[in-house]
Amino acid sequence: MNKIELLAPAKDLIKAKFAVDYGADAIYLGGQNFSLRSRASNFTNEDIKEIVQYAHDRNVKVYVTVNIVFHDEDFVGIKEYLLYLGSVGVDAIIVSSPYVMNLSKKLCPNMEVHVSTQLSSLNSEAIETLKAFGADRVVLGREASMSEIAGISGNACLPIEVFIHGGMCSNYSGRCIMSNRMTNRDANRGGCAHSCRWKYRVYENDELISAEDNPLSMSSKDLRASAYIEKMIAANVSSLKIEGRMKSEYYIAQVVKTYRNMIDEIYEKGHLDDDRIAYYDQELYKAENRPSDSGFLSGICDDSKSLYGINGAGVSHEYVGLVKDYDDLKDIAIVEVKNMFDIGDKLEVFGPQLDNTQFINNVMFNEEWKFIKEAHKPTEIIYLRLPVKVKKNYMIRKVK
């Protein structure tokens, strides 16, 4: 049996490399056209070629989103783009258009076609239909419960992919045009304004029935499926997908590393007890900026899974520094400041090959090798004494 795949998002070339280095089995990203998340600083063709080489050298797959809901004008250049993706070795495209699925299979038969969650596939019959359209894998809609996922997986004729972490559409993905009406921005072509997260008064027969000081919001908590990973493995799900092509390098590193460790531990031990799941939850909270829960996986999506009057929630740990290099002779880390921190702060360093290691920040220097008591300028380079040897792209965070 193949080991379940951990699939991570990448906003740009730098973050893609973080996702690879921190343990993803596959990454997904968008090019400059044909992709949702228009505000993500999407990849140029050259970037895609570079990341495919980087990822394949590390036995990691690369999937490219071609997942806008196409209008006629959007098809310009699609054949050339698909041929390019195939030529540089992209492993799969993620797509919602059946025409593009079919076209891609004709042009690039070795490049897999994965059906986007935009098609809200929630049963094995839909997967059978999509197989006939040319699909190789189907990303399920985020509305399926764990028991439904197990049922679908048992009956499906194609591998299935399931979202396990990150933002949730309040509506069926692709079936919402609130943003179009409210802001003129096309949600299905990358312009979603998240109108579902705004505040609405509710009227019945023109009588106000919502609370004046607590209006309705359709905002959903983010998804966190840590308690279901073992069941997904048992259900023979093929791929576990982390949402977040707009997220920071810190978020990617922390979330990917946590799920990587969790999956590996399940395969090693066969089972995770509640204490271990609670530990991994604590790790995920360190990257959380919106409250999260299990979404539809538990089968019920009641008021506890919605956000009323809250959008962000702050994070329990603050990302303060990125290791740029390590000087073995001086035994000191060269660090780029990300957020303010001071001498005396309790910090934690972690990396792809290093579990969380806490320390009190006792010694740091500026670039002129003068002792400093505070690091308050983002992007400033400083030198930091750490309790362990580290490597480039390890991260340092403040423990609150």
């Binding site: 935009q118 239909t129 809609g141 079936r175 109108s195 999506c301 009323y308």
Partner: protein
């Protein structure tokens, strides 16, 4: 070209005859739109057969894996009715219908996804009809019809679905407030965003919640040019069951020409001043990015 009318209230069956559509759209199980019992569904079917109206059933709910058995039973019941067509939203209906030899026409109504000529042509080639999304601009709409002549379905009148969720937005909200409120299947509840004045009708049922646009689509001027190139035209009476406007629209469409379209529109608007009629997205071309919009 056929003109189809949705039947939101079974008590309006006799009125339908006066408007003389070519067929009715109705439904029972797995429908967010129609809540008829099987007996009522059969009664509507018999009525249509008696008056030579075509019969289309809407199955617009997304199907859970665990609901497949019940769906197959329902499809087999529909098979016995020898319907003219089934409008569906879940692609699983295609595989299931073929396996169970449901031999009526299948028509994919995704609400939002059918936005280009090539996807439409793809489905048509598989013998699957398609309803064009109402999110298109008038130029885009004319283009997709020109590229698929006499093959497409289009809703030309009624309130357009704006959002479809499995979540129970109203129930959850009132539970959060600690208020017990009966809101299921009510058609007189609407939302108003705090910085806008749009009234957005919202309906919650056992399948979740749908939110509709703030105005009723009417596109006489545009329809006059394209009606002869469509396969089916859908007139939707949701939220308008107590009005005769949908019937008047059907009568108008039958005599609609480029020359009389503005006149007919004006007459209709004067007759129904309380109904906010608009061209919806036809002249509101949406942008792909925030920056493009600024």
């Amino acid at each position: 070209m056929e003109i189809l009318l949705t039947l939101s209230n079974i008590n309006n069956l006799e009125k339908v005859l006066n408007a003389k559509p070519n067929g009715l759209i109705f439904g029972s199980k797995f429908s967010t739109r129609f809540k008829y019992s099987i007996e009522e569904l059969d009664r509507i079917n018999d009525f249509c057969l008696h008056y030579n109206l075509k019969r289309y059933v809407s199955i617009d709910a997304f199907i859970n894996e665990s609901d497949k058995y019940e769906l197959v039973l329902y499809l087999n019941h529909l098979k016995e009715l020898h319907l003219d067509g089934i409008y569906f939203n879940d692609l699983g209906i295609i595989a299931l219908s073929r396996r169970h030899e449901i031999n009526c026409e299948l028509i994919y109504n995704s609400d939002t996804l059918m936005t280009n000529s090539l996807d439409a042509a793809f489905y048509l080639k598989q013998d699957i009809g398609v309803v064009v999304s109402n999110i298109l601009s008038v130029e885009e709409l004319f283009g997709i019809i020109r590229n698929n002549l006499n093959s497409l379905d289009l809703q030309v009148f009624g309130y357009l679905k704006m959002a479809n969720s499995k979540r129970e937005f109203l129930t959850n909200y009132f539970k959060h407030l600690g208020i017990s409120k009966d809101i299921k299947n009510k058609k007189d509840i609407y939302l108003v965003e705090e910085n806008r004045n749009y009234k957005l009708p919202i309906i919650e049922d056992e399948y979740g919640t749908r939110i509709y646009g703030d105005s009723c689509l009417l596109m006489y001027s545009e329809l006059a040019y394209i009606k002869d190139y469509l396969k089916r035209i859908i007139v939707d009476d949701l939220f308008l069951e107590n009005s005769d406007i949908a019937y008047d629209v059907i009568k108008d469409i039958k005599r609609l020409t480029v020359e009389n379209s503005e006149y007919l529109k004006e007459v209709l608007m004067n007759k129904y001043p309380d109904i906010d009629l608009s061209t919806a997205y036809l002249y509101q071309k949406s942008t792909k990015t925030k920056e493009e919009n600024e």
